[in-house]
Symmetry: C2
Subunit: 372 residues, 2 copies
């Protein structure tokens, strides 16, 4: 249990002294390195930026500005639950990317622009000695710079045996412009960005391969181009940062949520919060092109698009009179109208041609508290 730290040594001082007197201040040095790299990247020193100070201090400091709201989210990822470094052969860099991506997606789903992030990372001894943290932060930094997000802090700790990451992102949006889940109105058109089902299909490929051949971890050999694309969607999702910020800035969306657990689950949440119902047209659901290419089974593809999680696309509702103001593409990503909100609260339907059935939430959830 605690054999690695305080556990076995009854003499607190001596263990603390010997550890510290070895002068190997690992954790501290690492955070200091992240801080210096970040300040260098920003071209600032700790004291000359009016916007950010205190990186590497007890806490980070950010200026507030009148007329803006701060949006903040935290997402916890746990090895063996949310990712699997050994089994799926995903790289530490992927974990860094994905941890940040998940939180960027949440901020985008509020119509806000992400500005700052903090990463709390717990690492077991064995990985600490290797390149894990450097690679992890490479993934974080690469995605952060793409969106102008500054790493302002976090925490690094040891864990007994698994990597855990808590990713915290702060964004900004004009006061009162944050797009909540609760703002959908009957008659609103429902849109999604990009395409669906790819991340879940990627996970299936990884699971099949590792089940079939556990000795040879999934590599690129024997995978089609489409399959590799799907795996990449699972391991390195692209949060829809530009779409989210645009919808918030222009006040185009009445309600928004990001598709982390799957369209059926997340749409259900948005409807519940808004007190509306919804009808989704099956034929309009934008399937990931690689998913189309990788499978001939149309029903399976639709099921993955409706119920598969982790696509991190945005689902949002727009008043019909505003729909024409939506741009066709933002950053190369299109949106698709998949249905509309109805006044039948709690009723979420999937229509196929003339037929219609209930669309029950079937996405992935971490936990069933009461479940068997």
């Amino acid at each position: 249990m605690s054999e690695d730290s305080r556990g076995d040594d009854n003499n607190l001082e001596s263990s603390r002294e010997s550890s510290a007197r070895s002068a190997a201040r690992g954790e501290f040095d690492f955070i200091e390195r992240v801080r210096r790299q970040e300040l260098k990247r920003l071209g600032l020193t700790q004291d000359n930026s009016s916007l950010v100070r205190g990186i590497g201090d007890d806490a980070a400091v950010i200026s507030q500005r009148a007329g803006l709201d701060t949006v903040i989210t935290a997402d916890l990822l746990v090895e063996g639950v949310d990712f699997d470094l050994d089994r799926f052969n995903s790289a530490p860099r992927d974990i860094g990317h994905k941890a940040l991506a998940v939180s960027l997606s949440d901020v985008a789903a509020m119509g806000a622009r992400p500005r700052f992030c903090l990463l709390s990372v717990g690492v077991p001894e064995a990985r600490w000695r290797g390149p894990f943290l450097d690679e992890f932060y490479r993934g974080v930094r690469s995605l952060a710079s793409r969106h102008g997000v500054v790493i302002i802090g976090g925490d690094t700790s040891r864990t007994p045996d698994r990597v855990v990451v808590d990713s915290i992102v702060l964004g900004e949006v004009k006061s009162g412009r944050a797009v909540l889940r609760s703002g959908a109105r009957p008659g609103d058109l429902i849109f999604v960005t990009g395409s669906l089902g790819g991340a879940a299909a990627g996970l299936k490929i990884l699971e099949r391969r590792t089940a079939a051949d556990l000795k040879t971890p999934a590599g690129a050999e024997g995978l089609s181009r489409a399959e590799r694309r799907l795996i990449r969607r699972q391991n390195r999702p692209t949060p829809r940062v530009e779409w989210g910020a645009l919808l918030g800035e222009k006040g185009l969306a009445n309600a928004m949520i990001d598709l982390s657990d799957g369209l059926s689950s997340d749409l259900g949440r948005l409807c519940r919060e808004s007190g509306v119902g919804a009808t989704i047209r099956a034929e309009n659901v934008p399937l990931d092109p690689a998913l189309r290419a990788a499978t001939a089974d149309g029903a399976e593809a639709l099921s993955l698009a409706l119920d598969g999680g982790e696509d991190f696309e945005l689902l949002f509702t727009v008043s019909p009179r505003k729909a024409s103001r939506l741009p066709g593409r933002v950053g190369g990503v299109a949106v698709t109208c998949v249905g509309e909100a109805t006044d039948r609260a709690g009723s979420v339907k999937l229509s196929r041609g003339e037929k219609s059935e209930a669309l029950a939430p079937a996405g992935f959830e971490h936990f069933r508290r009461d479940g068997g």
Copy 2:
């Protein structure tokens, strides 16, 4: 590794469907409950507070105000490293309290007033089914209300076998008034709040008892009043929120840090950041009264006060001309002048009477990256 979730089931859809169709939306329901309790406590609904919206949405929303800076910190606590539920018999409520206390202490150390918190909590299946989360949040809520801190979000996730908590606190301070570690000047007087060594002594008591009798976890039986007080200092530390906010508001401190790893380590950090040295007078170090009562060994007590971590007192430096403006007590807590900053950068000394020796960092640190 991942047998509990995605691991063993190669058929993604069916496992996701069956789990979700059981309609036991545990995680979601729990967060919803925390949200409702918090809104009720605040006497507001999600939509009528201009300060906070979005609790339970993709992210929380907080108004920015001109003339203020936001201070933000995240602290990761891991079962088996930072706390031990089974071995030390510390209650889930204690973990909730301590997780928040650690971050409140960081915000206090910036001279800021804590306003909001987010808790990311990973819980293993076995504890999820029990009262852990309710008790944990009771501990969080109790400490949060004491300081007017609002719980605005977080994440709840499953872990394979250990509890992990990431505690995020946001505070506010007048623009430019945040107290950094780097502001100490030669000649500054060095103060600490409260008293030292109690938390480390409490940990020693817990370790001895559980080592002596693993079958009977440490209870109240057989413990002196002083020993119980020391255990409480370890399990339920009191962050110096009022002192921190006051020092920031009145601009009295040039530099500040909280004593999480121990005076010798944390003072070393402050000196390094400030480019100063320091001399601490051993006879002035305020020992925890319960520590005095519990041990006759003065050298051991001083060692715990200098090197023992987790007291969560504040250490700050003040220009001599401002020292008289320090209040004697704030919220019943006194401060003690323990020494002064010098112009010998990197030299941290401990003086006893006429003699003086180097005060090497000897506090607890999670990790030694290069260490044996």
